[in-house]
């Protein structure tokens, strides 16, 4: 790094947190805010258009929409919540999945290139203010407050002497950690991924234009940037899937008689 800097003459500025907080576009409105609004417009328009004229035998477009819907409905909600109770939670799970997915994918779309979820406020809003109250409310309504607390904090089959240890741990996990880890997981993945891409792209650019022999190393940086882009694409989809999966899993666990 130092040699590179020396060779270049002028300072290489490594990308950092500041790259995630660009100056507002106008007033208080920042780029992620615009993207967020854009994302719900895209998803809403896509689904409204796809479901306006549904046919028993789907066309290509309807088939694509159905496949997406089925990921939320069958492979996440039904698997995690159970065939008996999953129906009312399908819209929530589908919204979570598509919302996170599109906002993550913004990180790859040319010109946009910013994963909205790398601002922790957005995933936190979903996990802490939506998923967290929903699964506790569902559990309390199903089992009553005491029954629910017992169900959540005392795993069946645990010997009595570990209960004093187990109850606080379970309580802490279910009522404090779950929503935070849910949000932090996707935020951290998006933040780190975007940072990695920035590092390789910016350093590649710097190497290319710095002059001298470093030009030959520049393709290596670009190669890694491209490879990491593919990796990022996988992670983006995966993180959206995990977020929805865990949300559904929390709801399922809250509703289950015994888990």
């Amino acid at each position: 790094m130092t040699t590179m800097v020396l060779a270049a003459g002028d300072e290489f500025v490594a990308p950092g947190v500041k790259d995630f907080f660009l100056p507002p576009i106008f007033g208080e409105v920042t780029k992620p805010m615009v993207l967020l609004v854009l994302s719900i417009l895209i998803i809403g328009a896509f689904f409204i258009a796809a479901t306006r004229n549904l046919k028993l035998v789907p066309g290509k477009f309807q088939f694509a929409a159905e496949s997406l819907y089925d990921i939320g409905r069958n492979s996440i909600a039904r698997e995690q919540i159970g065939a008996k109770d999953f129906k009312p939670y399908v819209p929530l799970v589908l919204t979570i999945f598509t919302f996170i997915l599109v906002n993550n994918l913004f990180g790859l779309i040319p010109l946009v290139q910013f994963p909205t979820m790398s601002h922790i406020g957005f995933p936190l809003a979903v996990s802490l203010l939506v998923v967290y109250p929903v699964y506790h409310f569902a559990g309390i309504r199903r089992h009553g407050l005491v029954g629910y607390l017992k169900n959540q904090t005392m795993p069946p089959g645990a010997p009595w002497f570990v209960l004093p240890l187990l109850i606080p741990i379970e309580f802490f996990q279910k009522f404090v950690l779950n929503p935070l880890t849910l949000a932090i997981r996707v935020f951290a993945a998006m933040f780190a991924g975007h940072l990695l891409l920035l590092v390789f792209t910016l350093s590649g650019e710097y190497l290319l234009f710095a002059g001298g022999v470093t030009v030959v190393v520049a393709p290596v940086a670009f190669f890694f940037a491209i490879a990491l882009t593919f990796l990022e694409a996988l992670i983006m989809v995966l993180q959206a899937y995990i977020f929805a999966l865990l949300s559904a899993s929390y709801i399922g666990a809250a509703l289950a008689e015994e888990h």
Binding site: K18, P32, F47, L92, F99
Partner: protein
Amino acid sequence: MNTLVLAAEEGAINPVLPHTSEIILGLIAFLLLFFVIKKFVTPRFETLYAERAAKIEGGIEKAEQAQVQAQATLEEYKAQLAEARAEAARIRDDARIEGEQIISELRAKAQEESSRIVAAGQTQLETQRAQIVAELRGELGRLAIDLADRVVGESLEDEVRRRGTVDRFLSELDGTSAPAAK
């Protein structure tokens, strides 16, 4: 991480601390999208899925019904076939019995006829014989008288002539009766 903490201490932005405005906007945007999906998207898909399931189930049911019906028809045909076979066998048996009956009847009738013919022949023969015997009896009388006449007519010639006359008569008689006896 160290740099992040330093940056935060320096009054720069800490990415781990959420912005209130972003949480509020995130929540509102999410709820809006949730509303749209819950209100429009999910019900449409669920209606479609229910329709599709109903259609498929209906199709399966229809197929099952058709199969049951086909099975019933097959059974019916089999029963009918068996019935027809039994009927045919019965008819054949009847025909055989009837034929045998007819044959035996005819045989009896023929027997009767033949015995009747034989009996009639016998009666006729009997009658003819009686008639012939009666005729012969009359003839014999007449012949005897005839013979006696001749014998008397020749009168009392000699023994030899007499004997010759008798012999002549007898041979004459033989001559007429011999071809008949043959």
